[in-house]
Amino acid sequence: MSETAEQRADTYTPRPGAPPSRPGFPRRAGALFLRQREATVFVVAVVLFLYFTFSNSAFLTKDNMVVFTQDLAPIAIIAIGEVMLLICGEIDLSVGFIYAFAPFLMHYLIDFYGVPGILAIVLSLLMGVVVGWVNAFLTVTVGVPSFITTLGTGFVLDGILLTTSHGEPAQIPNAVVGIGHWFGTYAWSEIVWAVVLVAIFHVVLTRTRWGLHTIAVGGNSLGAHEAGINVARIKYGNFMITGFVGALVGLQVAFQTSSIDPSNGGYQAMFYSVTAAVIGGTAMLGGVGTILGAFFGAAVLAVLTDGFSIQGISANPLNIIFGVAILIAMIANVSLARLRGEGRAR
Protein backbone atom coordinates (compact mmCIF):
# COMPACT_ATOMS: atom_id res chain seq x y z
CA MET A 1 0.00 0.00 0.00
CA SER A 2 1.14 3.55 -0.57
CA GLU A 3 2.98 5.38 2.14
CA THR A 4 1.40 8.78 2.35
CA ALA A 5 1.37 10.83 5.48
CA GLU A 6 -2.23 10.04 6.15
CA GLN A 7 -1.63 6.35 6.02
CA ARG A 8 1.24 6.49 8.45
CA ALA A 9 -0.79 8.46 10.90
CA ASP A 10 -0.69 5.52 13.30
CA THR A 11 2.29 7.31 14.79
CA TYR A 12 0.09 10.29 15.61
CA THR A 13 -0.19 11.61 19.16
CA PRO A 14 -2.59 9.80 21.43
CA ARG A 15 -5.36 11.83 22.99
CA PRO A 16 -4.06 13.48 26.16
CA GLY A 17 -5.48 11.86 29.24
CA ALA A 18 -6.72 8.83 27.36
CA PRO A 19 -6.48 5.56 29.28
CA PRO A 20 -3.34 3.66 28.36
CA SER A 21 -5.26 0.59 27.21
CA ARG A 22 -3.75 -1.00 24.12
CA PRO A 23 -6.12 -2.64 21.65
CA GLY A 24 -5.41 -6.20 20.59
CA PHE A 25 -3.51 -7.12 17.46
CA PRO A 26 -6.60 -7.91 15.33
CA ARG A 27 -8.11 -4.52 16.14
CA ARG A 28 -4.87 -2.71 15.49
CA ALA A 29 -4.34 -4.59 12.21
CA GLY A 30 -7.93 -3.85 11.23
CA ALA A 31 -7.56 -0.17 12.07
CA LEU A 32 -4.31 0.02 10.12
CA PHE A 33 -5.93 -1.66 7.13
CA LEU A 34 -8.92 0.67 7.19
CA ARG A 35 -6.59 3.65 7.22
CA GLN A 36 -5.32 2.67 3.80
CA ARG A 37 -6.99 4.74 1.11
CA GLU A 38 -7.30 1.64 -1.06
CA ALA A 39 -8.99 -0.42 1.67
CA THR A 40 -12.62 0.20 0.78
CA VAL A 41 -12.35 -0.57 -2.88
CA PHE A 42 -10.18 -3.61 -2.14
CA VAL A 43 -12.87 -4.99 0.18
CA VAL A 44 -15.59 -4.24 -2.38
CA ALA A 45 -13.61 -5.99 -5.13
CA VAL A 46 -13.02 -9.08 -2.97
CA VAL A 47 -16.68 -9.25 -1.85
CA LEU A 48 -17.93 -8.98 -5.42
CA PHE A 49 -15.43 -11.58 -6.59
CA LEU A 50 -16.52 -14.00 -3.87
CA TYR A 51 -20.19 -13.33 -4.59
CA PHE A 52 -19.87 -14.23 -8.25
CA THR A 53 -17.59 -17.17 -7.47
CA PHE A 54 -20.21 -18.74 -5.18
CA SER A 55 -23.27 -17.72 -7.16
CA ASN A 56 -22.11 -19.01 -10.53
CA SER A 57 -19.78 -21.94 -11.11
CA ALA A 58 -18.77 -20.57 -14.50
CA PHE A 59 -17.19 -17.50 -12.92
CA LEU A 60 -14.03 -18.93 -11.41
CA THR A 61 -12.88 -20.85 -14.46
CA LYS A 62 -9.72 -20.35 -16.44
CA ASP A 63 -11.57 -19.18 -19.54
CA ASN A 64 -13.61 -16.67 -17.59
CA MET A 65 -10.60 -15.43 -15.66
CA VAL A 66 -8.92 -14.67 -18.97
CA VAL A 67 -11.97 -12.62 -19.99
CA PHE A 68 -12.08 -10.97 -16.57
CA THR A 69 -8.41 -9.95 -16.69
CA GLN A 70 -8.80 -8.74 -20.27
CA ASP A 71 -11.64 -6.50 -19.07
CA LEU A 72 -9.61 -5.32 -16.09
CA ALA A 73 -6.24 -4.62 -17.70
CA PRO A 74 -7.17 -1.83 -20.17
CA ILE A 75 -9.08 0.07 -17.49
CA ALA A 76 -6.25 -0.30 -14.99
CA ILE A 77 -3.53 0.75 -17.43
CA ILE A 78 -5.33 3.89 -18.63
CA ALA A 79 -6.26 4.66 -15.03
CA ILE A 80 -2.53 4.94 -14.26
CA GLY A 81 -2.34 8.02 -16.45
CA GLU A 82 -5.64 9.44 -15.24
CA VAL A 83 -4.59 9.03 -11.59
CA MET A 84 -1.34 10.91 -12.20
CA LEU A 85 -3.25 13.66 -13.99
CA LEU A 86 -6.11 13.87 -11.49
CA ILE A 87 -3.59 14.12 -8.65
CA CYS A 88 -1.91 17.08 -10.30
CA GLY A 89 -5.29 18.69 -10.86
CA GLU A 90 -5.93 17.84 -14.52
CA ILE A 91 -7.88 15.28 -16.55
CA ASP A 92 -7.55 13.75 -20.02
CA LEU A 93 -10.81 13.09 -21.88
CA SER A 94 -8.99 12.34 -25.14
CA VAL A 95 -7.19 9.20 -23.98
CA GLY A 96 -9.92 6.89 -25.33
CA PHE A 97 -9.41 8.34 -28.79
CA ILE A 98 -5.64 7.94 -28.55
CA TYR A 99 -6.50 4.32 -27.69
CA ALA A 100 -8.66 4.03 -30.81
CA PHE A 101 -6.25 5.82 -33.14
CA ALA A 102 -2.96 4.13 -32.14
CA PRO A 103 -3.63 0.73 -33.83
CA PHE A 104 -4.94 2.47 -36.94
CA LEU A 105 -1.78 4.54 -37.16
CA MET A 106 0.25 1.33 -36.87
CA HIS A 107 -1.86 -0.19 -39.68
CA TYR A 108 -1.47 2.89 -41.92
CA LEU A 109 2.28 3.08 -41.38
CA ILE A 110 2.84 -0.60 -42.16
CA ASP A 111 0.30 -1.20 -44.92
CA PHE A 112 0.35 2.19 -46.69
CA TYR A 113 3.86 3.50 -46.05
CA GLY A 114 5.89 0.30 -45.71
CA VAL A 115 7.24 1.17 -42.27
CA PRO A 116 8.78 -1.85 -40.47
CA GLY A 117 6.46 -3.39 -37.87
CA ILE A 118 8.40 -2.58 -34.70
CA LEU A 119 9.06 0.99 -35.84
CA ALA A 120 5.33 1.39 -36.60
CA ILE A 121 4.48 0.23 -33.07
CA VAL A 122 7.03 2.64 -31.59
CA LEU A 123 5.68 5.52 -33.70
CA SER A 124 2.11 4.68 -32.67
CA LEU A 125 3.13 4.77 -29.01
CA LEU A 126 4.97 8.01 -29.72
CA MET A 127 1.77 9.42 -31.22
CA GLY A 128 0.15 9.00 -27.80
CA VAL A 129 3.05 10.86 -26.19
CA VAL A 130 2.80 13.66 -28.77
CA VAL A 131 -0.96 14.04 -28.24
CA GLY A 132 -0.23 14.17 -24.50
CA TRP A 133 2.30 16.95 -25.17
CA VAL A 134 -0.26 18.88 -27.26
CA ASN A 135 -2.81 18.49 -24.44
CA ALA A 136 -0.23 19.78 -21.98
CA PHE A 137 0.79 22.67 -24.23
CA LEU A 138 -2.80 23.84 -24.65
CA THR A 139 -3.56 23.38 -20.96
CA VAL A 140 -0.38 24.52 -19.25
CA THR A 141 1.19 26.95 -21.70
CA VAL A 142 -1.87 28.37 -23.45
CA GLY A 143 -4.08 28.16 -20.36
CA VAL A 144 -7.17 26.33 -21.63
CA PRO A 145 -8.69 24.10 -18.91
CA SER A 146 -7.74 20.46 -19.50
CA PHE A 147 -11.39 19.40 -19.58
CA ILE A 148 -11.91 21.57 -22.69
CA THR A 149 -8.49 20.96 -24.23
CA THR A 150 -8.79 17.20 -24.13
CA LEU A 151 -12.44 17.30 -25.22
CA GLY A 152 -11.22 19.16 -28.30
CA THR A 153 -8.24 16.94 -29.07
CA GLY A 154 -10.45 13.89 -28.51
CA PHE A 155 -12.90 15.12 -31.15
CA VAL A 156 -10.04 15.91 -33.54
CA LEU A 157 -8.55 12.43 -33.13
CA ASP A 158 -11.95 10.79 -33.52
CA GLY A 159 -12.58 12.83 -36.66
CA ILE A 160 -9.21 11.91 -38.15
CA LEU A 161 -9.80 8.26 -37.30
CA LEU A 162 -13.30 8.07 -38.81
CA THR A 163 -12.28 10.05 -41.89
CA THR A 164 -9.21 7.98 -42.65
CA SER A 165 -10.74 4.60 -41.79
CA HIS A 166 -14.20 5.40 -43.24
CA GLY A 167 -15.48 3.88 -40.03
CA GLU A 168 -14.40 0.41 -41.18
CA PRO A 169 -12.35 -2.06 -39.11
CA ALA A 170 -8.98 -3.21 -40.36
CA GLN A 171 -6.87 -6.34 -40.02
CA ILE A 172 -3.73 -6.61 -37.94
CA PRO A 173 -0.80 -6.28 -40.38
CA ASN A 174 1.10 -9.55 -40.80
CA ALA A 175 4.36 -7.81 -39.94
CA VAL A 176 3.33 -7.38 -36.31
CA VAL A 177 1.35 -10.55 -35.63
CA GLY A 178 4.37 -12.16 -33.92
CA ILE A 179 5.22 -9.27 -31.64
CA GLY A 180 1.53 -8.80 -31.01
CA HIS A 181 1.48 -11.95 -28.87
CA TRP A 182 3.52 -10.10 -26.26
CA PHE A 183 1.23 -7.11 -26.38
CA GLY A 184 -2.13 -8.78 -26.13
CA THR A 185 -2.69 -12.02 -27.99
CA TYR A 186 -1.44 -14.34 -25.27
CA ALA A 187 -4.21 -14.98 -22.77
CA TRP A 188 -2.48 -13.37 -19.78
CA SER A 189 -0.28 -10.83 -21.53
CA GLU A 190 -2.51 -7.83 -20.83
CA ILE A 191 -2.88 -8.49 -17.13
CA VAL A 192 0.87 -9.02 -16.84
CA TRP A 193 1.41 -5.63 -18.50
CA ALA A 194 -1.17 -4.11 -16.17
CA VAL A 195 0.35 -5.57 -12.99
CA VAL A 196 3.89 -4.58 -13.98
CA LEU A 197 2.88 -1.04 -14.97
CA VAL A 198 0.73 -0.59 -11.85
CA ALA A 199 3.65 -1.76 -9.68
CA ILE A 200 6.07 0.60 -11.42
CA PHE A 201 3.80 3.63 -11.23
CA HIS A 202 2.77 2.86 -7.68
CA VAL A 203 6.44 3.15 -6.77
CA VAL A 204 6.82 6.25 -8.95
CA LEU A 205 3.92 7.93 -7.17
CA THR A 206 4.78 6.96 -3.62
CA ARG A 207 8.57 6.69 -3.59
CA THR A 208 10.04 9.10 -6.13
CA ARG A 209 10.48 12.86 -6.48
CA TRP A 210 8.22 12.79 -9.53
CA GLY A 211 5.36 11.34 -7.48
CA LEU A 212 5.94 13.69 -4.57
CA HIS A 213 6.02 16.70 -6.88
CA THR A 214 2.88 15.48 -8.66
CA ILE A 215 1.06 15.46 -5.31
CA ALA A 216 2.57 18.85 -4.42
CA VAL A 217 1.45 20.40 -7.72
CA GLY A 218 -2.10 19.12 -7.25
CA GLY A 219 -2.22 19.92 -3.55
CA ASN A 220 -0.97 23.50 -3.79
CA SER A 221 0.13 24.60 -7.24
CA LEU A 222 1.33 28.04 -6.11
CA GLY A 223 3.09 26.58 -3.08
CA ALA A 224 4.83 24.00 -5.27
CA HIS A 225 5.90 26.78 -7.64
CA GLU A 226 7.14 28.89 -4.74
CA ALA A 227 9.16 25.91 -3.50
CA GLY A 228 10.86 25.92 -6.89
CA ILE A 229 9.08 22.91 -8.40
CA ASN A 230 8.68 23.16 -12.16
CA VAL A 231 4.89 22.82 -12.18
CA ALA A 232 4.64 22.90 -15.98
CA ARG A 233 7.18 20.08 -16.34
CA ILE A 234 5.22 17.85 -13.96
CA LYS A 235 1.97 18.46 -15.83
CA TYR A 236 3.57 17.99 -19.26
CA GLY A 237 5.07 14.71 -18.08
CA ASN A 238 1.83 13.36 -16.70
CA PHE A 239 -0.14 14.29 -19.82
CA MET A 240 2.49 12.47 -21.89
CA ILE A 241 2.35 9.40 -19.63
CA THR A 242 -1.43 9.32 -20.08
CA GLY A 243 -1.10 9.58 -23.87
CA PHE A 244 1.44 6.76 -23.83
CA VAL A 245 -0.70 4.35 -21.80
CA GLY A 246 -3.70 5.19 -23.99
CA ALA A 247 -1.78 4.24 -27.13
CA LEU A 248 -0.38 1.12 -25.46
CA VAL A 249 -3.84 -0.12 -24.48
CA GLY A 250 -5.16 0.60 -27.98
CA LEU A 251 -2.47 -1.62 -29.48
CA GLN A 252 -3.00 -4.33 -26.85
CA VAL A 253 -6.74 -4.54 -27.41
CA ALA A 254 -6.25 -4.61 -31.18
CA PHE A 255 -3.83 -7.54 -30.86
CA GLN A 256 -6.05 -9.29 -28.33
CA THR A 257 -9.14 -9.08 -30.55
CA SER A 258 -7.10 -9.58 -33.76
CA SER A 259 -8.91 -6.63 -35.23
CA ILE A 260 -8.46 -2.87 -35.44
CA ASP A 261 -11.88 -1.45 -34.69
CA PRO A 262 -12.72 2.29 -34.83
CA SER A 263 -15.42 1.77 -32.19
CA ASN A 264 -12.85 0.66 -29.61
CA GLY A 265 -11.84 3.03 -26.85
CA GLY A 266 -13.63 6.38 -26.99
CA TYR A 267 -15.32 8.00 -24.04
CA GLN A 268 -16.31 4.68 -22.45
CA ALA A 269 -12.69 3.61 -22.02
CA MET A 270 -11.81 7.00 -20.55
CA PHE A 271 -14.81 7.14 -18.21
CA TYR A 272 -14.21 3.60 -16.96
CA SER A 273 -10.64 4.56 -16.12
CA VAL A 274 -11.61 7.81 -14.41
CA THR A 275 -14.28 5.88 -12.50
CA ALA A 276 -11.73 3.25 -11.46
CA ALA A 277 -9.41 6.03 -10.29
CA VAL A 278 -12.11 7.82 -8.30
CA ILE A 279 -13.65 4.77 -6.63
CA GLY A 280 -10.08 3.71 -5.89
CA GLY A 281 -9.57 6.81 -3.77
CA THR A 282 -8.28 9.47 -6.16
CA ALA A 283 -9.72 12.94 -5.60
CA MET A 284 -11.17 14.82 -8.55
CA LEU A 285 -9.79 18.06 -7.10
CA GLY A 286 -6.16 17.00 -7.03
CA GLY A 287 -3.49 16.36 -4.43
CA VAL A 288 -4.69 12.89 -3.46
CA GLY A 289 -4.71 9.57 -5.26
CA THR A 290 -3.41 6.04 -5.49
CA ILE A 291 -2.45 3.84 -8.42
CA LEU A 292 -3.11 0.68 -6.42
CA GLY A 293 -6.60 1.93 -5.55
CA ALA A 294 -7.29 2.55 -9.22
CA PHE A 295 -6.23 -1.03 -9.98
CA PHE A 296 -8.72 -2.34 -7.42
CA GLY A 297 -11.28 0.10 -8.84
CA ALA A 298 -10.69 -1.40 -12.28
CA ALA A 299 -11.13 -4.85 -10.72
CA VAL A 300 -14.51 -3.78 -9.31
CA LEU A 301 -15.68 -2.56 -12.72
CA ALA A 302 -14.36 -5.67 -14.48
CA VAL A 303 -15.89 -8.09 -11.96
CA LEU A 304 -19.26 -6.33 -12.30
CA THR A 305 -19.15 -6.45 -16.10
CA ASP A 306 -17.96 -10.01 -16.24
CA GLY A 307 -20.01 -11.32 -13.33
CA PHE A 308 -23.33 -9.95 -14.50
CA SER A 309 -22.65 -11.06 -18.06
CA ILE A 310 -22.19 -14.60 -16.75
CA GLN A 311 -25.41 -14.25 -14.75
CA GLY A 312 -27.12 -13.57 -18.08
CA ILE A 313 -28.01 -9.97 -17.43
CA SER A 314 -28.13 -8.08 -20.73
CA ALA A 315 -26.13 -4.95 -21.45
CA ASN A 316 -28.95 -2.42 -20.92
CA PRO A 317 -29.96 -3.18 -17.32
CA LEU A 318 -26.29 -3.82 -16.60
CA ASN A 319 -25.72 -0.07 -16.79
CA ILE A 320 -28.26 0.47 -13.99
CA ILE A 321 -26.45 -2.02 -11.77
CA PHE A 322 -23.15 -0.47 -12.80
CA GLY A 323 -24.27 3.01 -11.85
CA VAL A 324 -25.71 1.91 -8.52
CA ALA A 325 -22.58 -0.11 -7.72
CA ILE A 326 -20.36 2.89 -8.45
CA LEU A 327 -22.49 5.10 -6.22
CA ILE A 328 -22.42 2.56 -3.38
CA ALA A 329 -18.64 2.22 -3.71
CA MET A 330 -18.25 6.00 -3.64
CA ILE A 331 -20.56 6.41 -0.63
CA ALA A 332 -18.56 3.73 1.19
CA ASN A 333 -15.36 5.54 0.26
CA VAL A 334 -16.56 8.92 1.47
CA SER A 335 -17.87 7.41 4.72
CA LEU A 336 -14.63 5.58 5.37
CA ALA A 337 -12.59 8.68 4.57
CA ARG A 338 -14.65 10.54 7.17
CA LEU A 339 -14.00 7.77 9.69
CA ARG A 340 -10.30 7.91 8.90
CA GLY A 341 -10.37 11.67 9.47
CA GLU A 342 -12.13 11.30 12.80
CA GLY A 343 -9.69 8.57 13.81
CA ARG A 344 -6.75 10.87 13.17
CA ALA A 345 -8.35 13.79 14.88
CA ARG A 346 -8.68 11.91 18.11
Partner: protein, 276 residues
Protein backbone atom coordinates in the same frame (compact mmCIF):
# COMPACT_ATOMS: atom_id res chain seq x y z
CA UNK B 1 13.90 42.45 -17.08
CA UNK B 2 17.03 42.81 -15.11
CA UNK B 3 19.54 45.36 -16.19
CA UNK B 4 23.06 44.27 -16.91
CA UNK B 5 24.46 40.78 -17.15
CA UNK B 6 24.22 38.32 -14.34
CA UNK B 7 27.38 38.17 -12.30
CA UNK B 8 28.72 35.09 -10.61
CA UNK B 9 28.25 34.93 -6.89
CA UNK B 10 31.17 35.71 -4.65
CA UNK B 11 32.99 32.57 -3.60
CA UNK B 12 32.04 31.29 -0.18
CA UNK B 13 34.58 31.70 2.51
CA UNK B 14 36.38 28.58 3.75
CA UNK B 15 34.24 28.35 6.87
CA UNK B 16 31.12 28.36 4.74
CA UNK B 17 29.98 31.82 5.83
CA UNK B 18 28.58 34.20 3.29
CA UNK B 19 31.23 36.83 2.68
CA UNK B 20 29.97 40.37 3.03
CA UNK B 21 30.88 42.99 0.46
CA UNK B 22 33.55 45.55 1.41
CA UNK B 23 30.81 47.88 2.70
CA UNK B 24 29.57 45.10 5.01
CA UNK B 25 26.32 44.46 3.13
CA UNK B 26 25.44 40.93 2.08
CA UNK B 27 22.51 42.08 -0.04
CA UNK B 28 21.69 45.35 -1.75
CA UNK B 29 18.72 46.25 -3.93
CA UNK B 30 19.31 49.28 -6.15
CA UNK B 31 16.60 51.17 -8.02
CA UNK B 32 14.28 48.16 -8.16
CA UNK B 33 11.07 48.79 -10.11
CA UNK B 34 8.21 46.43 -10.87
CA UNK B 35 4.89 46.86 -12.65
CA UNK B 36 1.99 44.44 -13.08
CA UNK B 37 0.15 45.78 -16.12
CA UNK B 38 -1.25 49.16 -15.17
CA UNK B 39 -0.33 48.74 -11.50
CA UNK B 40 3.04 49.99 -10.32
CA UNK B 41 4.11 47.89 -7.35
CA UNK B 42 7.66 49.21 -6.89
CA UNK B 43 8.92 52.54 -8.20
CA UNK B 44 12.49 52.89 -7.04
CA UNK B 45 13.47 50.71 -4.13
CA UNK B 46 16.92 51.02 -2.60
CA UNK B 47 17.70 48.90 0.41
CA UNK B 48 20.60 47.09 2.02
CA UNK B 49 21.06 44.22 4.44
CA UNK B 50 24.13 43.88 6.61
CA UNK B 51 25.77 40.62 7.63
CA UNK B 52 23.96 39.08 10.58
CA UNK B 53 21.47 41.94 10.58
CA UNK B 54 17.72 41.62 11.12
CA UNK B 55 15.93 44.19 8.99
CA UNK B 56 12.25 44.93 9.52
CA UNK B 57 10.38 45.83 6.34
CA UNK B 58 7.24 47.78 7.15
CA UNK B 59 4.51 49.28 5.04
CA UNK B 60 0.81 49.44 4.39
CA UNK B 61 -1.06 46.61 2.66
CA UNK B 62 -0.29 46.84 -1.04
CA UNK B 63 2.88 48.88 -0.48
CA UNK B 64 4.88 46.27 -2.42
CA UNK B 65 6.61 44.44 0.44
CA UNK B 66 5.75 40.94 -0.81
CA UNK B 67 6.61 41.93 -4.38
CA UNK B 68 10.05 43.04 -3.23
CA UNK B 69 10.57 39.81 -1.27
CA UNK B 70 9.55 37.73 -4.28
CA UNK B 71 12.07 39.59 -6.44
CA UNK B 72 14.85 39.12 -3.90
CA UNK B 73 14.20 35.36 -3.66
CA UNK B 74 14.10 34.76 -7.42
CA UNK B 75 10.39 34.01 -7.65
CA UNK B 76 9.83 36.85 -10.12
CA UNK B 77 12.19 39.23 -11.96
CA UNK B 78 12.29 42.97 -11.48
CA UNK B 79 11.56 45.24 -14.45
CA UNK B 80 14.65 47.32 -13.76
CA UNK B 81 17.26 47.81 -11.08
CA UNK B 82 20.04 45.68 -9.70
CA UNK B 83 20.46 43.10 -6.97
CA UNK B 84 23.92 42.97 -5.47
CA UNK B 85 24.74 39.82 -3.53
CA UNK B 86 28.00 39.86 -1.59
CA UNK B 87 29.30 42.66 -3.78
CA UNK B 88 28.42 40.99 -7.07
CA UNK B 89 25.46 41.77 -9.27
CA UNK B 90 23.16 38.78 -9.71
CA UNK B 91 20.14 38.05 -11.84
CA UNK B 92 17.99 35.26 -10.44
CA UNK B 93 16.23 33.04 -12.94
CA UNK B 94 14.51 30.87 -10.36
CA UNK B 95 13.90 30.27 -6.68
CA UNK B 96 16.29 27.32 -6.93
CA UNK B 97 19.07 29.56 -8.22
CA UNK B 98 18.59 32.08 -5.41
CA UNK B 99 18.49 29.23 -2.92
CA UNK B 100 21.73 27.81 -4.26
CA UNK B 101 23.29 31.23 -3.59
CA UNK B 102 22.11 31.16 0.01
CA UNK B 103 18.84 33.11 -0.15
CA UNK B 104 15.75 31.36 1.16
CA UNK B 105 12.27 32.60 1.82
CA UNK B 106 9.21 31.91 3.93
CA UNK B 107 6.26 33.06 1.90
CA UNK B 108 3.22 34.71 3.38
CA UNK B 109 1.13 31.71 2.26
CA UNK B 110 3.87 29.39 3.63
CA UNK B 111 3.99 27.31 0.42
CA UNK B 112 3.22 24.14 2.36
CA UNK B 113 1.48 21.18 0.78
CA UNK B 114 -1.38 20.10 3.04
CA UNK B 115 -1.48 16.56 1.67
CA UNK B 116 2.17 15.88 2.43
CA UNK B 117 3.84 15.04 5.70
CA UNK B 118 5.89 17.44 7.77
CA UNK B 119 9.17 15.90 6.65
CA UNK B 120 8.20 15.83 2.96
CA UNK B 121 7.28 19.51 3.24
CA UNK B 122 10.56 20.29 4.95
CA UNK B 123 12.47 18.68 2.13
CA UNK B 124 10.19 19.77 -0.70
CA UNK B 125 12.15 20.16 -3.93
CA UNK B 126 15.42 19.35 -2.18
CA UNK B 127 14.55 15.79 -1.28
CA UNK B 128 17.20 13.32 -0.29
CA UNK B 129 17.26 10.59 -2.88
CA UNK B 130 18.85 7.18 -3.12
CA UNK B 131 18.27 7.09 -6.83
CA UNK B 132 15.67 6.55 -8.03
CA UNK B 133 13.82 6.39 -4.71
CA UNK B 134 13.26 8.97 -2.01
CA UNK B 135 15.40 8.46 1.08
CA UNK B 136 12.36 8.77 3.34
CA UNK B 137 14.00 7.34 6.43
CA UNK B 138 16.90 9.76 6.23
CA UNK B 139 14.59 12.75 5.62
CA UNK B 140 12.28 11.74 8.45
CA UNK B 141 15.18 11.43 10.88
CA UNK B 142 16.77 14.71 9.80
CA UNK B 143 13.47 16.59 10.00
CA UNK B 144 12.76 15.28 13.48
CA UNK B 145 16.27 16.13 14.65
CA UNK B 146 16.18 19.60 13.13
CA UNK B 147 12.78 20.50 14.53
CA UNK B 148 13.87 19.25 17.96
CA UNK B 149 16.98 21.40 17.79
CA UNK B 150 14.87 24.40 16.91
CA UNK B 151 12.57 23.68 19.83
CA UNK B 152 9.54 23.14 17.60
CA UNK B 153 7.14 20.74 19.25
CA UNK B 154 5.23 18.55 16.83
CA UNK B 155 3.30 15.35 17.47
CA UNK B 156 5.04 13.58 14.59
CA UNK B 157 7.00 14.44 11.47
CA UNK B 158 4.78 11.90 9.72
CA UNK B 159 1.67 14.00 10.33
CA UNK B 160 0.06 15.82 7.42
CA UNK B 161 0.67 19.54 7.77
CA UNK B 162 -3.05 20.16 7.26
CA UNK B 163 -3.59 18.78 10.75
CA UNK B 164 -1.21 21.20 12.45
CA UNK B 165 -1.88 24.56 14.05
CA UNK B 166 -1.02 27.87 12.37
CA UNK B 167 2.05 28.30 14.55
CA UNK B 168 3.31 24.80 13.88
CA UNK B 169 2.85 25.30 10.14
CA UNK B 170 4.72 28.59 10.33
CA UNK B 171 7.50 26.96 12.32
CA UNK B 172 7.86 24.23 9.71
CA UNK B 173 8.07 26.84 6.96
CA UNK B 174 10.76 28.74 8.88
CA UNK B 175 12.62 25.55 9.76
CA UNK B 176 12.52 24.49 6.12
CA UNK B 177 14.19 27.72 5.08
CA UNK B 178 16.75 27.68 7.87
CA UNK B 179 17.88 24.06 7.78
CA UNK B 180 19.31 24.51 4.28
CA UNK B 181 22.00 26.72 5.82
CA UNK B 182 20.52 29.77 4.13
CA UNK B 183 22.63 32.84 4.77
CA UNK B 184 19.90 35.31 3.90
CA UNK B 185 16.41 34.61 5.11
CA UNK B 186 13.36 36.49 3.85
CA UNK B 187 10.31 36.16 6.09
CA UNK B 188 7.07 37.48 4.61
CA UNK B 189 4.66 38.17 7.48
CA UNK B 190 5.68 35.18 9.59
CA UNK B 191 3.44 36.37 12.44
CA UNK B 192 0.31 37.00 10.38
CA UNK B 193 -2.96 35.68 11.84
CA UNK B 194 -1.11 34.11 14.73
CA UNK B 195 -1.93 33.98 18.43
CA UNK B 196 0.51 35.39 21.00
CA UNK B 197 1.79 31.93 21.99
CA UNK B 198 2.45 30.87 18.41
CA UNK B 199 4.00 34.23 17.49
CA UNK B 200 6.33 33.86 20.49
CA UNK B 201 7.57 30.54 19.09
CA UNK B 202 8.44 32.16 15.74
CA UNK B 203 10.03 35.18 17.40
CA UNK B 204 12.14 32.84 19.51
CA UNK B 205 13.31 31.11 16.34
CA UNK B 206 14.31 34.46 14.84
CA UNK B 207 16.03 35.55 18.08
CA UNK B 208 17.96 32.31 18.13
CA UNK B 209 19.14 32.85 14.56
CA UNK B 210 20.05 36.43 15.37
CA UNK B 211 22.05 35.38 18.39
CA UNK B 212 24.08 32.96 16.29
CA UNK B 213 24.75 35.83 13.86
CA UNK B 214 25.19 33.56 10.86
CA UNK B 215 22.04 34.53 9.04
CA UNK B 216 20.90 37.93 7.78
CA UNK B 217 17.14 38.36 7.90
CA UNK B 218 14.54 40.58 6.28
CA UNK B 219 11.26 40.29 8.11
CA UNK B 220 7.91 41.76 7.12
CA UNK B 221 5.50 42.31 10.00
CA UNK B 222 2.62 44.56 10.96
CA UNK B 223 3.08 44.51 14.71
CA UNK B 224 5.61 47.29 15.26
CA UNK B 225 6.22 46.30 18.86
CA UNK B 226 7.35 42.84 17.81
CA UNK B 227 9.39 44.22 14.91
CA UNK B 228 11.28 46.73 17.02
CA UNK B 229 11.99 44.09 19.62
CA UNK B 230 13.83 41.74 17.27
CA UNK B 231 15.09 43.99 14.45
CA UNK B 232 18.35 45.91 14.25
CA UNK B 233 16.99 48.33 11.68
CA UNK B 234 13.67 49.13 10.04
CA UNK B 235 12.76 50.24 6.52
CA UNK B 236 9.38 51.69 5.64
CA UNK B 237 8.07 51.04 2.15
CA UNK B 238 5.57 53.63 0.93
CA UNK B 239 4.24 54.07 -2.59
CA UNK B 240 6.89 51.77 -4.02
CA UNK B 241 9.87 53.45 -2.35
CA UNK B 242 11.77 53.16 0.94
CA UNK B 243 10.88 56.35 2.79
CA UNK B 244 12.41 55.58 6.17
CA UNK B 245 15.60 53.77 7.07
CA UNK B 246 16.49 53.89 10.77
CA UNK B 247 18.12 51.73 13.40
CA UNK B 248 15.41 50.15 15.52
CA UNK B 249 16.90 51.77 18.59
CA UNK B 250 16.35 55.24 17.10
CA UNK B 251 12.68 54.88 16.34
CA UNK B 252 9.61 53.88 18.29
CA UNK B 253 6.21 52.31 17.89
CA UNK B 254 4.79 55.83 18.32
CA UNK B 255 6.85 57.26 15.44
CA UNK B 256 5.96 54.38 13.13
CA UNK B 257 2.29 54.66 14.05
CA UNK B 258 2.38 58.41 13.39
CA UNK B 259 3.80 57.81 9.92
CA UNK B 260 1.10 55.26 9.13
CA UNK B 261 -1.63 57.56 10.47
CA UNK B 262 -0.22 60.38 8.36
CA UNK B 263 -0.34 58.13 5.30
CA UNK B 264 -3.90 57.17 6.14
CA UNK B 265 -4.93 60.85 6.51
CA UNK B 266 -3.31 61.74 3.18
CA UNK B 267 -5.17 58.89 1.48
CA UNK B 268 -8.42 60.03 3.07
CA UNK B 269 -7.90 63.62 1.94
CA UNK B 270 -7.09 62.48 -1.58
CA UNK B 271 -10.27 60.42 -1.58
CA UNK B 272 -12.36 63.38 -0.40
CA UNK B 273 -10.77 65.66 -2.99
CA UNK B 274 -11.56 63.15 -5.73
CA UNK B 275 -15.15 62.83 -4.47
CA UNK B 276 -15.55 66.61 -4.21
Amino acid sequence: MTSGPAGPPAPASPDGDTPASPDGDVLRAEHIAKRFGAVTALVDVNMRLGKGEVLGLLGDNGAGKSTLIKILCGFQPQDSGRIILNGQEVSFKSVDQARSLGIDVVYQDLALINQLSVYHNMFLNRERVRWPLLANRSMRKAARQYLDEMGVNLPSVDAEVSRLSGGQRQAIAVARAVYTQAKILLLDEPLAAMGAKEAAMILDLVRDLKRKGEVSIIIIAHNYGQVLEICDRVNLLQHGEITLDKPAAETSVQELNDIVIEEYRAALQARHRAAG
